[in-house]
């Protein structure tokens, strides 16, 4: 696991229809230590996806630098695993083939890829749907596949863009607990973007507040792990942190 460093990152879009420049991200700097879970929270349109897509290498920054383990990021690569809000599973591939895709692209033998994919599917209790197609699964199951597909490729950092925003509230809590469990067991480095303050505080070690393209505040979350909803909904520290973060979001 390696450190991610973002230095004075800015992104200006040009909207040709309106002839306008949109500063989506301005002078954003952050550092994520190996094994750390960081959430970026902010209202929609504040630049969360832009930040994540820049780090993923899908977009070119207007200015600033992104360094992973000291090396500048150029374009997308398997060192940064991405989990998308819309799952982005390949519809013509089975669940197993989706999860085995990353290892296969890196040249591992097929049998090894499949064995590995199977192990990761077992991690989220989905081994029994390995040979189904994504469209045969519920949204929650599809996103579990999305998460383990990224994990199975063993990236240096996991980038997650509102991954649980499209599922129902019940499933969302289950997925959040599952991600917390996986994090507690394996300690991957995670940058998690969301507009949901509860989710950010529940998951992260540190919550960064993004508003109108700028980082406004940093809120540490010193809540013990393992984190599970039944305990945290009763926890006064958790409630206080959520309240504090929420008022910071509204004030920003």
């Amino acid at each position: 696991m390696k450190e991610l460093l973002v230095e004075r990152l800015s992104k200006i879009y040009f909207d040709p229809d309106r002839g306008e420049r949109i500063a989506a991200l301005e002078e954003v700097s952050l550092r994520i230590a190996p094994g750390e879970f960081v959430a970026v929270v902010g209202p929609s349109g504040c630049g969360k996806s832009t930040l994540l897509n820049l780090i993923a290498g899908f977009l070119e920054p207007t200015s600033g630098r992104i360094l992973l383990d000291g090396r500048p990021v150029r374009g997308p690569g398997p060192d940064r695993g991405v989990v998308f809000q819309s799952y982005a599973l390949f519809p013509w591939k089975t669940v197993l083939e989706n999860v085995a895709f990353g290892p296969r692209m890196r040249g591992l033998p097929k049998a090894e890829c499949h064995a590995k994919a199977m192990r990761y599917l077992e991690l989220v209790g989905l081994a029994h749907v390995a040979h189904r197609y994504p469209r045969e699964l519920s949204g929650g199951m599809q996103q579990r596949v999305g998460v383990v597909r990224a994990l199975a490729n063993e990236p240096e950092i996991l980038l997650m863009d509102e991954p649980f925003a499209a599922v129902d509230a019940q499933t969302r809590m289950t997925l959040q607990e599952e991600l917390a469990r996986i994090y507690e067991e394996r300690r991957p480095t995670i940058l998690f973007v969301t507009h949901d303050v509860n989710e950010a505080v529940f998951l992260a070690d540190r919550v960064l507040l993004l508003s109108k393209g700028r980082l406004r505040e940093e809120i540490p979350v010193p809540i013990a792990r393992p984190r599970r909803w039944p305990r945290l909904v009763e926890d006064d520290d958790f409630k206080a942190l959520v309240a504090r973060t929420l008022s910071a979001v509204r004030a920003a």
Binding site: A56, G57, F58, G75, P76, G77, P78, R80, G81, V82, F84, S86, A88, L89, F90, P91, W92, F101, G102, M105, R106, Y133, R135, R149, A150, N153
Partner: protein, 265 residues
């Protein structure tokens, strides 16, 4: 009558492909009736039985089979070439914004010039022969394949190639593993349309250029004054295409659309 209907229902249930023929029954009956009462002289408007008799005779002599083989072979060769050119070009136009900007207006222009509109100048360039016919087929098949492939490529959601790149796929693998499968339903639609247009263009080309083939047979029959053979040609053209389209191409299109389909549930 009721028993007949029940029979038919049984038939369709056990052999669903037969349902394709159902709408032709009233058509055939009307043809029969009009021919039977001889509103028009039989030399102008042949009786279905006469068409059948002559058709069987031509088939027995091997003429029909040989002409059909010529036509189908020409279509197959031309279509294969059309697909071989249209598919990669479609991928290029779909993938590259620059190629799209520069080529799309040209494509629209040349697509608008229908296949047969080329015939006069092709006849001057290549004469009455196979080259001219092949050109027309390739041209006709290429455009629907190219346009649909490009549309299909552009319809692949941006996140899919992104996901593949983030999982370590090279550009070439992204095209092979994501772009082509993602565009496949459109590609199949393009091939289906292309073959349909190509089949029609082929017959037109055979009528004008031909030395053999179904189109040539029809034109030759007209010269000899045999309307029966012209009608045989019409029937063969229609039947053959219906079978190919409804038994092979349409199911293929449906299957790729459902299996590969990017449409959310």
């Amino acid at each position: 009558m009721e028993r007949l209907a029940a029979r038919w229902l049984w038939f369709v249930e056990h052999w669903p492909r037969a349902a394709v023929f159902a709408p032709f029954v009233p058509l055939l009956l009307s043809w029969w009736a009009v021919a039977e009462i001889e509103i028009f002289p039989p030399a102008f408007f042949p009786h279905p039985l006469e068409v059948l008799r002559r058709g069987v005779e031509l088939a027995y002599k091997g003429v029909l089979g040989a002409y059909l083989e010529d036509s189908v072979l020409r279509l197959a060769v031309g279509a294969a070439a059309g697909i071989a050119v249209g598919l990669p070009l479609g991928l290029l136009v779909g993938l590259s914004d620059r190629a799209h900007r520069t080529l799309w207006p040209l494509l629209l222009f040349f697509q608008a010039i229908g296949d047969i509109a080329w015939l006069p100048i092709l006849l001057v360039w290549f004469g009455f022969g196979l080259t001219t016919m092949t050109f027309v087929i390739v041209y006709t098949v290429m455009f629907p394949v190219l346009m649909n492939t490009a549309l299909g490529v552009r319809a692949v959601p941006e996140v899919l190639p992104r996901a593949a790149l983030s999982l370590g796929a090279s550009r070439a693998r992204v095209i092979l593993e994501v772009v082509v499968p993602g565009a496949l339903p459109n590609i199949v639609t393009g091939i289906r349309n292309g073959l349909g247009f190509g089949w029609r263009a082929l017959v037109a080309a055979e009528i004008i250029v031909g030395t053999s083939g179904i189109g040539f047979m029809m034109f030759d029959a007209r010269r000899a004054g045999s309307v029966t053979e012209v009608v045989i040609g019409l029937v063969v053209l229609g039947v053959l295409w219906s079978i190919v389209d409804s038994w092979i191409l349409a199911p293929l299109e449906r299957a790729t659309g459902e299996r590969w389909g990017l449409v959310a549930r």
